[in-house]
Amino acid sequence: MKKTKPDPESLLPLPSSVFHILLSLSDQERHGYGIMKEVATRTDGKVRLGPGILYGKIKHLIEGGLIEKSDERPDPRMDDERRVYYRLTDFGERVAIAETKRFSQLIGMARAKRLLSRSKFKACPR
């Protein structure tokens, strides 16, 4: 019997590292180090995934049907049989979109309350 995928909303909120992995795979397929590098670059080095944490999450995401292994080698210059590329599944994309919408709603609420324009976030007076 075919296993039905849960509602993407039911998986939210995603752990930060999981969302970063899904985001890094949203534009192209990447191998493990590619994901680590993309996440570190996009976050200015604030989020650094080590191999242990990364592959633990990858295993979890594959089991949940959010990502899958790809047989293609998008970067032939860096090709190596030990490099496995990963890509988002349709379900993973729906989950990433749902999480992005959730963040977007939160930011909308914060903007409505003018949180970022409050004086304590402005430059200190000289």
Binding site: H31, G32, K59, C124
Partner: protein
């Protein structure tokens, strides 16, 4: 074998051994990929770097192991097994101790070794101190290519300097961030980030200056009549109070391609005297 390759090969070998800490199924499924990821990271991050940087990479690898090994065992449900628990705790204590020692060594190295260059090159007719409220650039940054041809020189970074008079004297350096930090030492970012790749109107300030002037990330700052945005605050001791992209300062002073000093790192510290003589011989 090149020393860096040795470090990478040894790192991958040791990591392969440490992977035994993970559950067998996880290790057999992802072990080769994890080793490949570490090898890629070492190749990418250690190119031209020092042993201290390699120790930094290992610090993060060990902290990753400390966090992920128990997690993977918990997922397998084996952590409750007494033997696993005892062995796991023993290994964790060892890993925590090694990580702490590496962290301490890295911090100590940063304090004692960072922000030091082998040779500080300035033209003989240049003033000892930078110009005040004017940019002093008596050299051409293109000299870098000529210097790199001299045997024994590993890297060169041009610097454009200025002393700005605004409530006291403030040293401002125009730098090529990547080569400057490679040579002089990584900046420690206390807030914000490095210069953006497309924005030329950003500056970094050190924590002492930021505190003195009440500057925060996002504030604007007038430098030599031009408005800049503070994109990051770095720990003091990096060489100046304010850093800006060298191309921006060259543009402001109308001296395209100019530099005040060249900071030189030799392949080996024992070659410093030889390199100095070679530079002097070339005039």
């Amino acid at each position: 074998m090149n020393p860096l390759r040795k470090v990478i090969a040894s790192s991958v070998r040791v990591y392969g051994w440490l992977l035994r800490l993970y559950p067998r199924e996880f290790r057999s499924e992802y072990g080769p990929e994890m080793m490949q990821a570490l090898q890629d990271r070492c190749r990418n991050e250690l190119a031209g770097a020092s042993i201290t940087k390699a120790i930094g990479v290992w610090g993060t690898v060990l902290s990753d192991l400390i966090m992920s090994v128990p997690l993977e065992h918990l997922k397998k449900g084996k952590i409750m097994n007494r033997r696993y628990l005892t062995n796991g705790m023993g290994l964790l204590i060892i890993l925590v101790s090694v990580s702490a020692a590496l962290y301490w060594y890295q911090q100590r190295s940063r304090k004692t070794k960072a922000h030091v260059v082998d040779i500080f090159l300035r033209p003989s007719n240049a003033p000892l101190t930078p110009g005040t409220n004017c940019w002093s650039g008596p050299m051409q940054a293109s000299e870098k290519a000529k210097l790199l041809k001299i045997e024994g020189i590993r890297s060169v970074t041009p610097v454009l300097s200025c002393l700005e008079i605004k409530d006291g004297l403030t040293l401002v350096l125009g730098i090529d961030l990547q080569s400057y930090t490679q040579e002089v030492g990584e900046f420690t970012y206390l807030a914000g980030r490095q210069f953006g790749s497309s924005t030329a109107d950003e500056i970094l300030v050190d924590d002492i200056y930021a505190s003195k002037k009440g500057l925060r990330v996002g504030d604007s700052y007038i430098l030599n009549g031009s408005s800049f945005r503070v994109c990051g605050v770095v720990r003091h001791g990096a060489g100046a109070r304010i850093f800006a992209p060298i191309e921006t300062l060259q543009g402001m002073m109308g001296g395209k391609g100019s530099a005040s000093w060249m900071l030189i790192r030799c392949e080996n510290r024992s070659q410093i005297e030889t390199v100095i003589r070679s530079i002097q011989a070339k005039g």
